[in-house]
């Protein structure tokens, strides 16, 4: 089966910034993304857990998008404008997709 090269961008960011990030991605022409809950973790900003939280101040989410390699820079510029000063991680990996026209 034919596969096509793509980039998988994973952005873990504070839940309060999630809608701002997805708005920026949409403005940058990203056609689709998935948002996943993050159960807990630890890092430079300390340890946290999703358990028992009632506010949005501490939660984190992960936004995952698959895009064509030539569109990566536009996506990263849009994402960086939102995540620059916030707690989170941005990572990019090479991947392959089956239906290139969808990305």
């Amino acid at each position: 089966m034919d596969t096509h090269k793509a980039k998988r961008v994973e952005i873990i960011i504070e839940a309060v910034m999630a809608s701002r990030l997805t708005n920026a991605l949409e403005k940058a022409g990203v056609r689709g993304y998935s948002m996943l809950p993050v159960l807990g973790g630890t890092g430079r900003s300390g340890t946290w857990s999703r358990a028992g939280q009632v506010g949005r101040g501490e939660g984190m989410v992960q936004v995952v998008c698959l895009i064509r390699p030539e569109r990566l820079d536009g996506l990263l510029d849009a994402a960086f404008s939102v995540v620059e000063k916030h707690i989170g991680v941005v990572s990019i990996t090479d991947c392959e997709v089956l239906r290139a026209e969808r990305f």
Partner: protein, 321 residues
């Protein structure tokens, strides 16, 4: 005073909180799932809002309601200025971190408010039903004060239309004011229909919620074990100062003993839901572990265990109630 404190310390809600705190400190695997915690908080907000609305429908509204709302807004805006000066003196935090902490101390903790209404109920003391609306009015002004404090320095907070909307229409405020309106509109007849749901189980649900709060506070204390003596002292002193200002304001506008206690508790408590979220957006460079540990790990337990009986004693002493 000692009797009040002892009765409060041995109440099911405080002991539930202590159980959660203990479980977190000994690293037990006891947890309340996020969805369950949110469901419990929705129940408590709906019940407290509804009962407040019913109380207003029973007694009607007068000038005291508007005066109390105005007082709440002014207190919420002014308390961060006092908190800012105090924390700068006591801890030497940077302007940014001190302003972020100060914002939390102008806003309110609705769970502390709910615990205080429960204490009033147990003591057979009535209060103005509209204090629920005062609680809602005190959520946001403190955030603006915190941003103003930061803007006086080199940095400035990020305040956009989306953040305004999120602050003014955050879930807690919408639910509290919405259920208050439903209670007001439907009155005693409405309460009769759902009292089996929102009156009888209330204390039990509050116990479970405080168990969760104990777990969160314990985790916060564990991670914030490096809190300086100055910061810890601020977390205990600021609620006492806030409560005294609330006491003066409550007496000045003519609230009942119960109403004065609730205004004291609102002035003494620190936010851990609305303000942390707003600070993460508006002041992302401020250190969240400082304000969350202070608010949840120091001030909330202090108010719940020693603060509320102390405030009730002071309110009764001053009002003669």
């Amino acid at each position: 005073m000692l009797d009040l404190a002892l009765a409060n310390l041995l109440s099911p809600i405080v002991l539930s909180f202590a159980l959660g705190l203990f479980a977190a400190l000994v690293r037990s695997d006891l947890t309340v799932p996020e969805a369950a915690a949110k469901a419990l908080s929705i129940y408590l907000l709906f019940a407290i809002g509804f009962k407040g609305g019913v109380s207003v429908s029973d007694h009607g509204i007068d000038g005291l309601l508007a005066l109390s709302l105005l007082t709440g807004v002014i207190l919420s805006a002014l308390l961060p200025l006092i908190a800012f000066a105090l924390i700068r003196v006591m801890s030497g935090l940077s302007t940014l971190d001190a302003a972020a902490v100060a914002g939390h101390y102008g806003s309110i903790s609705i769970v502390t408010f709910v615990a205080a209404t429960s204490v009033l109920q147990g003591a057979g003391i009535t209060s103005e039903g509209f204090m629920v609306a005062v609680a809602a009015a005190m959520e946001a002004p403190a955030i603006l004060s915190a941003l103003w404090l930061v803007s006086r320095g080199e940095k400035s907070g990020r305040m956009d239309a989306d953040l305004w909307r999120e602050i003014l229409f955050n879930g807690s405020i919408v639910l509290l004011l919405g259920s208050f309106a439903i209670g007001w509109i439907t009155g005693d007849e409405g309460l009769d229909k759902i009292s089996a749901f929102i009156v009888a189980p209330f204390q039990g649900v509050l116990c479970l919620f405080l168990l969760d709060m104990g777990l969160i506070a314990g985790r916060g204390l564990r991670s914030g074990a490096g809190l300086s003596a100055g910061l810890f002292g601020f977390g205990v002193l600021m609620p006492v100062i806030g409560s005294m200002i609330g006491l003066g304001a409550g007496v000045l506008i003519g609230l009942s003993t119960g109403g004065v206690l609730l205004l004291m508790v609102l002035s003494a408590s620190a936010s851990y839901i609305a303000v942390p979220a707003a600070m993460r957006v508006a002041l992302p460079e401020a250190n969240p572990s400082i304000y969350l540990t202070l608010s949840l790990g120091v001030t909330f337990p202090f108010n719940l265990t020693l603060g509320i009986p102390l405030y009730l004693w002071a309110a009764q002493l001053v009002t003669g109630g």
